[in-house]
Amino acid sequence: MDPIFKGNPITVLVLGICSSLAVTVQMKGAFVMGLSVMIVTGLSSFVVSMMRNSIPNRIRIIVQLVVVSLMVILVDQLLKAYSYGIEKQLSVYVGLIITNCIVMGRIEAFGLANKPIPSLLDGLANGAGYAMILIVVAFFREILGSGTLFGMRIIPQSFYDAGYMNNGLVILPPMALILIGCIIWIQRSIQKDLQEK
């Protein structure tokens, strides 16, 4: 359970910021992206962990990269076939999961040293931690920026008639960074041991 809150990859390790800024405009995209990262981190940790005793030490990063890319391309192809609209919306960011530090970081730090099942769980949990932050950020961005959730209208039309307007700033990446900053702030004020002296 550690990676979901106490050791969350985004808010504590501050990894994977780039994609979390880009795909959190809408809940749907954030949800699919979170799920994809979960699957990729889980499965690639699992596979690398199974091969851990046979991987030549000198090329271990390359082997990890090959495994991760395999998973990412598979996820991308599956999304293209079964969820085309979302794939288009996520565009390059699915491919960029390869460069997401969370994936490689977990394989290096955990997958290479542990048995397959714990590695799988570790990968899944880290992916879930990432997904959770994505969904929280997307929740605020979508409801403030577009007045919708999962594409469904939440803020009633009468608000707009009364002069309420969607906040265009929230749609843009800088606001996502500020939101993530706020989440990190909240977490650090709860978890005192994270504060540097």
Partner: protein
């Protein structure tokens, strides 16, 4: 076993790479038909959106099969013309044969390399609700990658009914507005392509002059994308010009003779009425 020897390392990496390649090749082949169907439905939904038959979101909710059904129902004719504007072939309506992005790219390459005689340009004539809408594609380069789209004309062969654009990698929030911002698409509505002018249609940075019918405003902060899209539209309209202008005289003649008949009968009625008065 020594897992750090050179020989072991080379063999190991070779096996891994071949294995991964095999898995990916299989996945790609197995999923190809499904992906192609998605691309096709997406392209059709872009055309239907350009023709203003549907909202893009409505089409997305409809699913692939229904989109194809709608296409077969709405399309009148899908023709292929050459650079002289002559109809040389037609696309299979029932199979909803269309031009996807890759096919547009091939045509664009032919235009660029000057092989005009090899061009096979598609013209989609929709007829939903008795009103004819002519949809043609365009393709060009934006700032980061290709941009393409569909222009829909009313049956006077020059007035825009609507348009829809797509892109591969334009900047989100700026260049990507050609696709995401409905108000940019809406600018096309009611504008005209002026085939007699040297500039058929233009997207003007800093705002189109008021009252100019063949120009619209460019997107703020997306100068290069706007320029690329403008070049794409102009280039493709240039190649469609023979078809569009050739179709016009016939229609104009029909309209003229119609008008003539009307004035004739009016004049006759006037004569009759004077005759009545003199009696």
């Amino acid at each position: 076993m020594n897992t750090n020897g050179n020989f072991y390392t080379i063999i190991y990496s070779t096996i891994i790479v071949v294995l991964v390649a095999a898995i990916l090749a299989y996945a790609s082949l197995a999923l190809k038909p499904k992906q192609d169907a998605n691309v096709k439905a997406e392209t059709i939904s872009q055309m239907l959106t350009a023709a203003k038959y549907f909202d893009k979101a409505t089409l997305e909710a409809m699913g692939n099969d229904k989109i194809l059904e709608e296409y077969v129902k709405d399309i009148n004719k899908a023709l292929i013309i050459n650079a002289e504007g002559e109809v040389i072939d037609s696309l299979d309506k029932a199979k909803s044969e269309i031009y996807t992005e890759s096919k547009l790219k091939a045509q664009n390459n032919l235009m660029k390399s000057g092989k005009k005689e090899d061009l096979r340009l598609p013209v989609f004539i929709f007829g939903k609700g008795g009103k004819q809408v002519i949809v043609i594609p365009c393709y060009g380069t934006g700032l980061w990658g290709p941009v393409w789209g569909y222009l829909a004309f009313a049956d006077d062969m020059k007035t825009f009914v609507g348009a829809y654009f797509d892109h591969e990698s334009e900047t989100p929030g700026l260049g990507a507005k050609i696709k995401d911002d409905p108000s940019f698409r809406a600018e096309f509505e009611g504008k005209t392509a002026d085939f007699s002018s040297s500039r058929i249609f233009s997207i003007v940075k800093g705002g189109a002059p008021a009252g100019q019918a063949n120009a619209i405003d460019a997107i703020t902060g997306a100068t290069m994308t706007s320029r690329g899209l403008n070049a794409a539209i102009e280039q493709w309209l240039e190649f469609y010009k023979p078809y569009f202008t050739a179709a016009k005289p016939a229609e104009k003649a029909a309209a003229d003779s119609c008008a003539k008949a009307a004035t004739d009968s009016l004049a006759k009625a006037a004569i009759d009425s004077t005759a009545v008065i003199t009696e």
